[in-house]
């Protein structure tokens, strides 16, 4: 490790002395994959049993794929297919194979299975939609939810920060609705608004609305008195104060709100796509659940995580460009 240039001697407990080391980050990721590898994959399905079950397993797998309406071009057996067949054949299967894998392929997919599923999903799509269609469907849903949540939430929040009447009117509503987890409203929204996007989008609006209201409200309330007074002394009208001072001044808070809302919306996505929509990453995951496609589920989760990280990074980039003064001075 390189010596720190400021030669601090007291570092333990000094927050500034603790930075994220990329090398250790890599180690964290390797540890995660290592654990996954060791528990599910390390020794694979025992070679000597493979031959015994291969033929039948392949036949079964093809039949199953046909029944699901999936493409039948079969390029290899997954550990899971073999395990299923082994279980069917012998009640002793668990014992015969348990030395090889800590976690059964029926409870968590192995790494090769997952990579195989990823390849399958990226080339052939899943359940009649390509992976890009699934991803875009989810993104578009979240963006619509965020748009309407902000479109309504930001003005309401600004009003709450500016007027005691608006504050009084909306306070109980915001405080009352905010703690409700969107998932709790799933069934109600489906019955009220109808299945599919009719319920999914309102659910996502609900997820971001309260966050945006609170962010905008905090942004206005943050305006320092000297700024407001200086504006009036410089001849600004109330409307000019709002447009030229209060709203720009609230931007950092609003962006923080956007980031939180995006995180929550993206986290609500899978729930929102339980409303009976056909496309979307959440829908893909819940359909995969019906067919016990653990590998597809894991691939879906990884894609959701990656896109979440990318969107957060995008907003942070926007913050840097649009509100460069944030956190300085």
């Amino acid at each position: 490790m390189a010596r720190r240039s400021d030669n601090k001697t007291v570092t333990f407990g000094d927050a500034a002395a603790v930075t994220s080391r990329p090398l250790w980050g890599l180690l964290g990721v390797i540890t995660l994959f290592g654990a996954w590898f060791l528990t599910t994959t390390a020794f694979g399905f025992p070679e000597e049993l493979k031959e015994k079950y291969a033929a039948v397993a392949e036949e079964n797998a093809i039949t199953a794929a046909e029944a699901r309406g999936e493409p039948v071009d079969f390029d290899g057996l997954s550990d899971k297919d073999l395990f299923v067949e082994c279980q069917r054949d012998s009640a002793n299967c668990d014992n015969e194979t348990s030395y090889s894998q800590l976690v059964s392929p029926l409870s968590f997919p192995s790494i090769p299975d997952t990579i195989g599923a990823a390849g399958e999903i990226f080339t052939e799509g899943y359940q009649n939609f390509s992976i890009w269609e699934h991803t875009w469907a989810s993104l578009w849903r979240v963006l619509r939810g965020m748009f309407w949540g902000s479109f309504v939430g930001i003005p309401v929040g600004l009003a709450m920060g500016l007027s005691s009447r608006a504050r009084g009117f909306f306070d109980p509503l915001v405080e009352g609705f905010r703690p409700i987890p969107p998932l709790a409203l799933l069934s109600l929204f489906v019955l009220t608004f109808g299945i599919g996007d009719k319920a999914a989008v309102p659910l996502l609006i609900f997820a971001s609305l309260w966050i945006m209201i609170i962010a905008a409200r905090a942004g206005v309330r943050n305006a320092s008195l000297p700024k407001v007074r200086a504006s009036y002394s410089l001849g600004a009208s109330k409307g000019q104060l709002l447009r030229k001072v209060l709203i720009p001044n609230a931007l950092p808070e609003i962006f923080t709100g956007l980031r939180v809302a995006l995180g929550v919306s993206w986290g609500t996505l899978v729930a929102a796509e339980l409303t009976g929509v056909q496309d979307g990453l959440g829908a893909m995951i819940s359909q995969a659940k019906n067919f016990s496609r653990l590998d597809v589920i894991v691939v879906g989760i990884v894609i959701i995580a990656l896109i979440g990280v990318m969107m957060d990074g995008l907003i942070r980039l926007l913050e840097k460009i649009l509100i460069p003064w944030q956190g300085k001075g």
């Binding site: 007074r229 200086a230 002394s233 001849g235 509100i323 003064w325 001075g329």
Partner: protein, 266 residues
């Protein structure tokens, strides 16, 4: 420049939990246009309150304030304000900050840009128009605040501890900037400060205030501000006449502080 007339001001703050603070009692004075008045006094004696009433940010409990013929009922462009810090707009660059007032009145770029350049020159920030506020030092930021105030061409400039957050050297430079601005523009200035030296050097009129209730206890008319326009301020501060007034005010404020402490402990 218009004269300021403060007529029998009383200010009582009602506290949210009941009770009240008598922040100003029976403040009455006239200030001819073009004077530089400094307000001194122990913490809590009502300096900021008085300045805010003149600015129109607060209405007095009783009494009236006039600038020229006009009664002050709220903030207006004829009274510019310079705060200690935090009143610049971080989302605008230096030049947009300075032109804020004119732009609010719908001035065009071609009208205000030459004026902005002239003001930047006056406050010693030529070429800094495109800089962001957070790129400037504290002293530079206060120069921008002064220029922004001047851009509106107010009759009177009000300053609440404008140099309070600056280091000693920057502070001296800013003092002489304010003095020359005052002399060149002929504007009236009312300035609150905690520094006795600063009050004596800059004020051609000085009020020493006393607390509980806040009132004007002593009034000085001093020659130092005019002299500092041509002479070296440091030499003026060393002079016996300057030192004498300074000692008098210091011991007066000291006595007041002692009295307050004694009362608080009792």
């Amino acid at each position: 420049m218009k004269a300021l007339s403060v007529q029998n001001i009383d200010m009582v703050y009602d506290l949210p939990k009941g009770g009240s603070v008598h922040a100003l009692s029976n403040i009455e004075f006239d200030l001819e246009g073009g004077r530089l008045l400094t307000l001194l006094g122990p913490s809590g004696c009502g300096k900021t309150t008085l300045l805010n009433i003149i600015a129109g940010f607060l209405g007095p409990t009783s009494g009236e304030v006039y600038l020229g013929e006009e009664k002050i009922t709220g903030p207006s462009e004829d009274r510019g304000m310079v705060f200690q810090q935090g009143a610049l707009f971080e989302w605008l660059n230096v030049s947009k900050n300075i032109s804020f007032g004119p732009r609010m009145k719908g001035a065009r770029k071609s009208d205000y840009l030459p004026e902005v350049d002239r003001l930047l020159d006056i406050v010693g920030l030529s070429g800094f128009g495109d800089k962001q506020i957070y790129e400037l030092s504290g002293g530079m930021q206060q120069r921008v605040a002064l220029a922004r105030c001047l851009a509106n061409d107010p009759d009177m400039m009000l300053m609440d501890e404008p140099l309070g957050a600056l280091d000693a050297l920057t502070r001296e430079k800013m003092q002489s900037l304010i003095l020359h601005l005052w002399n060149d523009t002929g504007k009236s200035i009312v300035m609150v400060t905690h520094s006795v030296e600063e009050a004596l050097l800059l004020g051609d009129k000085v009020f020493v205030m006393a607390p509980r209730p806040g009132r004007i206890e002593k009034i000085y008319e001093l020659p130092f501000a005019h002299r500092a326009l041509t002479e070296d301020p440091r030499e003026i501060k060393k002079g016996a006449d300057f030192q004498e007034v300074k000692e008098e005010i210091l011991s007066f404020i000291w006595e007041m502080e002692e009295e307050i402490m004694g009362r608080d402990e009792a």
